[in-house]
């Protein structure tokens, strides 16, 4: 798999934003047919580099060559014309179009007669040929919105790989993949990697991901970026995850990453019990109990209903049936207002939509769950000075870097934004936190800090429900792990520090005994 010549060669690429250098003298090569991994913490410069390659941002210094010719794209379209395509983290297909229309989007002019009349048949035939070549197994005349999320992702990758060569006549395009698997579950991931591997005959890949296992498995080479610089270029076969962690954050990842030694022994008292929870189309027959000081992990594939269950437990999206009991209290329907009063907090997975208001100051974002008690007087006057004091305390307590009470949240990194959401609950006396993917989009360093915060909370007797897609996080943090499949609890696994379950054990429970999903809801 050693290429005869390099396809894309970048030398000394540098980009500054105001005072900060986002990308610093980066040298990078992508050979024909290669899959090159690019990893680094959030803010290490990965996105900026992709933006430069795809013509969205012009570098301040450095040169690029594509196929031996100088490459200075004037924009996204210009880069595309030279054969650089990009698959974004957020899907860029138009849902109300047919699949073939999406596959050939922006190339319609090639299929028109007299300028306007579309030759539908020709488009469908070509699109179907592309889809078959990509092995997606989809009828291209279907509405895009009727495909599952992962199928749509595959359509996008097929479009990026095949349209340049088959429609534009560009040989071996370079596909930039930005966190392509972030929202795929394990089963879909496998399909994705099969596709990418098959596509390496016709394309090269630059592959950015936070999931290091994947990067190592899929790539030939891995570039490690740290603070805008390439700190290492490794043969994927020679590297392991620990080493990459060390290179990314400059410290060796040790066994304390999940603070397992701080795991509490539980059995003191129940903080929350639930029985008979059901929400149609999401989950049913859910029964669970969380002890004070315990982390109860909830795992499952994307369609397992675990996120919906999290919202149901609090009453953010109340269940159709079922009751919860907080502490020794009464059995009642979940209600968000009462949950707040009883000391239950929620950290949603969609940070920018439901977690924080990016335009508003840090202090406003921290105080917004406590306007009914902590930060307003009996007469409803806002206690601004107190709010600022509390925010300052939280910022130093949780080490929220770059934050001050009056700085707007959009200026913080993902990890620090997430700490702001945690601070919203820590400034009140909570006894139970429900966390939905609390470290999604958070860099490795900030993740570990968040784990430390969670351990501190459990040591103080707070119960935690941890809903997460990351298996290692689920295993490393939880006292007990509840596995869900298609809305039902299929197993509860004990996870004491000295006898943690393996990923394989959990995956088997998530997929079902046959090792295959017995039903695919999304498709």
């Amino acid at each position: 798999m050693v290429p005869d010549r390099a396809k894309l060669v970048a030398r000394g690429i540098t980009k500054r934003f105001e005072a900060a250098t986002a990308v610093d003298r980066v040298d990078l090569e992508i050979g024909a047919g290669q899959i090159v991994g690019l990893i680094g913490e959030n803010g290490a410069g990965k996105s900026t580099l992709l933006n430069i390659f795809s013509g969205i941002v012009a570098p301040d210094a450095g040169t690029m060559e594509l196929d031996g010719r100088p490459f200075q794209p004037g924009g996204f379209g210009a880069a595309g014309a030279r054969g650089i395509a990009r698959v974004f983290q957020e899907q860029a297909l138009i849902p109300n179009l047919r699949v073939y229309e999406n596959l050939l989007l922006s190339h319609e002019a090639r299929f028109t007669r007299f300028g306007q009349i579309m030759q539908r048949r020709a488009m469908v035939d070509l699109a179907q040929a592309l889809a078959d070549e990509g092995g997606i197994g989809v009828d291209v005349t279907r509405a895009t919105s009727s495909l599952s999320f992962s199928k749509r992702q595959l359509v996008e990758i097929a479009r990026a790989c095949l349209v340049p060569s088959r429609v534009l006549g560009i040989e071996r395009p370079i596909i930039l993949l930005d966190e392509p698997t972030a929202s795929l579950d394990k089963a879909d991931e496998a399909v994705f990697f099969t596709l990418v591997t098959r596509m390496r005959n016709v394309a090269s890949f630059l592959f950015v991901s936070h999931r290091l296992t994947e990067v190592l498995r899929a790539s030939d080479f891995v570039y490690v970026l740290k603070d805008g610089r390439v700190v290492a270029k490794l043969n994927a076969g020679d590297a392991d995850e620990r080493q990459l962690h060390g290179l990314m954050v400059g410290r060796e990842r040790d066994a304390d990453y999940y603070h397992e030694s701080e795991q509490t022994t539980v059995g003191r008292s129940v903080v929350l019990e639930a029985r008979g929870l059901r929400r149609s189309g999401a989950y049913s027959d859910v029964e669970l109990a969380v002890q004070a000081g315990e982390i109860l992990g909830i795992g499952g594939l994307l369609d397992s209903g675990k996120s919906e269950l999290g919202k149901g437990l609090l009453g953010v999206e109340p269940p159709d049936d079922g009751e919860v009991r907080i502490g020794p209290g009464e059995w009642q329907r979940p209600d968000i207002g009462r949950a707040l009063v009883e000391g239950i907090g929620y950290v949603p997975s969609e940070r920018l939509a439901e977690g924080i208001i990016p335009d508003f100051p840090v202090s406003w974002n921290m105080s917004l769950a406590s306007g009914q008690d902590l930060f307003a007087s009996a007469w409803g006057l806002w206690r601004s000075a107190h709010e600022t004091e509390v925010a300052k305390g939280m910022i130093s307590d949780l080490d929220i870097r770059g934050a001050r009470p009056n700085v707007s949240c959009q200026k913080l990194s993902g990890g620090n934004q997430q700490k702001v959401v945690l601070a919203r609950w820590l400034c009140r006396s909570v006894r139970l936190l429900v966390l939905d993917n609390p470290t999604r989009g958070v860099d490795a360093g900030a993740k570990e800090e968040i784990y430390g915060i969670l351990r501190r909370l459990t040591a103080a007797g707070v119960g935690i429900i941890l809903i997460t897609d990351e298996l290692l996080e689920l295993i490393g943090l939880s006292n007990r792990i509840l596995i869900m499949r298609h809305g039902r609890v299929t197993g509860i696994v004990d996870a004491p520090p000295d006898a943690k379950p393996t990923e394989v054990e959990l995956i088997r429970l998530m997929l079902g005994s046959s090792g295959q999903p017995d039903r695919v809801l999304a498709a």
Binding site: N42, D227, L340, E354, L381, R401, K411
Partner: protein
């Protein structure tokens, strides 16, 4: 990288902590509307000799006061990302009810608190339909706009209803301070009170939060629906206040009462700088918007510009104001 940038941005832009956020927000982006007020004054002062007279200034105050009172509450509604189209209709209906009540029994000054309570009730109805019916506020208040207007005209039987109470009349046209009609004092005090409510109370903060991120407010357990109802109720309260004092100022309630408020109230709020998408701006800014609209009305009248042209000018000003404020938010986001 992110950390470096944010630290730099912090040290450059946010040297002062805490409360200066709101003060900064107040200052930044205010120079343009204030500049427009000054420019309008200068222009009309040169264009017509009768503009810069005490008598005219007193007249502007009277006109602007009704508008200011009427849209102070509605500003909160817009701030939380909803809209209240029924302000003018509530002014008409409370005006009609107030005059009818005055004529029925000699309640005099007591008609004012009665009108305020009645207006609050109308606003509560808006809020309840909006919150419990889960309908867009645009549709709800479009409906009540028609309903309240019809009810008002029904009560007036289509003609102007006069009243005879000097005490009540003096609430609006009396002059505790020379050349300043009392209605203007009421309006300014109400403005100051509402601005304080916006800055210093839980209600005010919740309006910003709901406007800026309703989903965030809900997942954090904020009583969103209750505060939405409060906001519509407050809009009704202020419309009731405006309706009573407008009737007092005119000495009657007629079918045209509040008619110009549908456009003018929204225009004043938006021109003042409160964004229709919610979460941006503030009630304090509505004063500037009201001044701009009132100055335009008054100055163009004095210049003898016909009514139709005036409407065209006002429409253009509203669109221009939204255009300007939009590019500003976009820049903010990019920054």
């Amino acid at each position: 990288m992110t950390d470096d940038i944010s630290i730099d941005a912090v040290s450059q832009n946010h040297m002062r902590p805490a409360r200066t956020v709101t003060l900064q927000a107040l200052r930044s982006g205010l120079w343009l509307p204030v500049g427009v007020v000054v420019a309008l004054c200068a222009f009309f002062a040169i264009a017509t000799p009768s503009f810069l007279t005490l008598r005219n200034a007193s007249g502007i105050l009277g006109q602007a006061s009704t508008l200011l009172l009427a849209c102070l509450g509605a500003s909160f509604v817009v701030l939380m990302g909803s809209i209240d189209l029924s302000v003018g209709a509530m002014v008409l209906l409370t005006g009609a009810v107030t005059v009818t009540a005055l004529n029925a029994g000699g309640i005099g000054v007591l008609a004012l608190p009665l009108a305020v309570m009645f207006g609050t009730g109308l606003g509560l109805a808006n809020g309840a339909i909006f919150a419990f019916g889960r309908m867009p506020s645009f549709v709800v208040t479009l409906g009540t706009l028609s309903f309240f207007t019809g009810a008002g005209w029904q009560l007036l039987e289509g003609r102007a209803l006069r009243f005879d109470s000097t005490a009540f009349e003096n609430l609006a046209i009396g002059q505790l301070v020379p050349y300043v009609p009392n209605i203007a004092l009421f309006a300014l005090v109400a403005w100051a009170a509402m601005a304080l409510v916006g800055f210093r109370t839980r209600f005010g903060r919740y309006m910003y939060i709901i406007g800026g991120g309703e989903a965030v407010a809900r997942t954090a357990g904020m009583p969103v629906r209750r505060y939405q109802i409060y906001a519509f109720a407050l809009s009704g309260t202020m419309a009731g206040f405006a309706g009573a004092l407008a009737a007092a100022r005119l000495g009657a309630a007629g079918p045209t009462l509040g008619q110009d408020l549908l456009l003018n109230s929204l225009a004043a709020i938006v021109v003042g700088g409160t964004s229709l998408s919610g979460g941006v701006g503030g009630v304090h800014r509505t004063l500037i918007g009201v001044l701009i609209i009132a100055l335009l009305d008054n100055g163009l009248n004095l210049m003898g510009v016909n009514q139709y042209t005036q409407m065209m000018v006002k429409g253009a000003v509203v669109v221009a104001a939204v255009l300007v404020s939009q590019t500003r938010t976009r820049q903010l986001v990019i920054k």
